[in-house]
Subunit: 312 residues, 2 copies
């Protein structure tokens, strides 16, 4: 057990949150993380409302520990998702990609803990003002969608920590106990881990994608699509095609070119060549595909070893 404002807020054993990720974090991963003492999140971004409800119901059966859901507020049927969350009595909601003022009040009226994901101090302050219970601050090194400021975990966390009063969860570049401890030294009360869980046994991503994450080396991911919304992905054939296309086409054409299919193709169907493969820089440190429980145990063990080293 590691006591922090984050473990107290969610009533969990370890301050490790599994990031809600499209095509990756269904109920299997979320329940496995929660059962191992962390906080699992169902990522709604790649689910139709019916499927989302099914995952929430299955998660409730698969764990009696706290779990949550992540909802990107750009989701087309966001109202439907909010209703399902309330109807199904989900206790913890992480909102991202949108204005935290939109749903925080309504969710909190139903006794739901609301956490908002940001990538800059400016939006951290807005989220605090909107009344959220905690903030996830995500650095430039994180996989998937990211901020235009390009602030890294190392500079973002102490800055936000010095300006907000609510609990702070660090994200971006964290996959080990060493990284977890460093994030907490920088001022975080807990950490959100994405990439390492994306490559876990319980992740619903395709085996090809998981193996690709393990093979990914330093410098093989890149933040791109700065014209639309910055996103970090593996530099595969699709990435090269995308970069070339972006040079000679408008933002509208680029949006069309991308669609949503490319992400499914890469991460869920395992087409490593033509699909989009979102992952963080820390993929370069991920050595194998393990269970969520093994990941959490390994992180906690490393955290404790370094915490009791002569450095402290």
């Amino acid at each position: 057990m590691i006591k922090s404002t984050i473990t107290e807020l969610f009533k969990i054993k370890y301050p490790i949150i599994q990031g809600g990720m499209v095509w990756v974090s269904g109920y299997k991963l979320a329940a496995a993380v929660s059962n191992a003492g962390g906080l699992g999140l169902i990522g709604s971004g790649s689910m139709y409302p019916d499927m989302f409800r099914e995952h929430v119901q299955k998660c409730k059966k698969a764990t009696n520990k706290p779990f949550g859901v992540n909802i990107p507020m750009i989701y087309p049927n966001i109202e439907e998702l909010i209703n399902i969350i309330i109807e199904e009595n989900v206790k913890i909601v992480f909102t991202s990609a949108g204005n935290p003022k939109l749903y925080t009040k309504r969710l909190k009226e139903h006794g739901i803990i609301v956490v908002h994901v940001v990538s800059s101090l400016k939006f951290a302050l807005k989220a605090e003002e909107a009344g959220v219970d905690a903030i996830v601050a995500e650095g430039f090194e994180a996989g998937g969608h990211n901020g235009r400021e390009e602030s890294t975990t190392f500079t973002l966390i102490p800055l936000i920590q010095s300006k907000i009063k609510i609990p702070l969860i660090a994200a971006g570049g964290i996959a080990t106990g060493r990284g977890m401890l460093a994030a907490m030294v920088l001022g975080a009360d807990g950490v959100q881990v994405g990439s390492r869980f994306a490559a876990s046994i319980e992740s619903s991503a395709h085996e090809n994608f998981k193996n690709k994450v393990v093979e990914t080396r330093e410098g093989e991911t890149m933040l791109t699509l700065k014209e639309i919304a910055p996103v970090r992905m593996i530099k595969n054939e699709f990435y090269q095609e995308l970069v070339a296309y972006a040079k000679s086409h408008s933002v509208e054409e680029l949006k069309e070119f991308l669609g949503r299919r490319r992400l499914k193709k890469g991460m869920f169907e395992g087409d490593l060549k033509n699909g989009m493969l979102e992952i963080g820089q820390i993929a370069g440190m991920i050595k194998n595909v393990e269970s969520a429980e093994a990941i959490i145990n390994d992180m906690i063990e490393e955290y404790n070893v370094i915490r009791s080293s002569p450095l402290f």
Copy 2:
């Protein structure tokens, strides 16, 4: 006193190295840092050979503590600099921007400690193979020249630490005791601090530049010039002009446009509009212009406070 392989290598009190920076780190700053228990570096990049020799001689008079010099290997009169270093009996040399195989052997034959600056694992391994005594690994958040991999301090340090045997100095985003401890948790044996010393009293940068660093907020620096060599600078008028120019001109034209004058104009002459202003992301955390001694004392105090906090 903080004992690490870095304090032992350089025979210094604290594992804090002041980065060698053009137009910033002459003998005044280097001597002040060394006198305060860190390791000061004279940045040769903006000095003609005669002036460099003068700074080395003055530094020897201004401190009886160890100090070093930084030499970018793209320096046009590099051979002359190497000769001055040997003639003036400089004990510590940090090399950057080039192949560490070029001068490491020769410098070491003269009993000089050689450290090489890298921004990726690949070049860290090459530097170790070339026989350097230690490595500086610099993350994406650092000011000035940077790597194409865009690896952040948070992902770069543990990766390099896991693969090399020689001492490792973390750079990029470090300006506080909190950052120093976090870097050491990530696996560094010491830290190199640039931005905060650039804005110190003893820095030879123009007052306008120092005040600008203090005013700089999150998201106001950007890594640009990826077409030539990535460099992080403040997004002032010159930056906007540069970005626009880069879009419609060749790499050769861009090099011509830049020249070396722009950096001097901004950092040394204090023209905040038309000059180039190199600084790191952590500028957003720098609150005032202080002496080098005050900076080091503040960092060590914060380091010790956090190290003995209830978290640990």
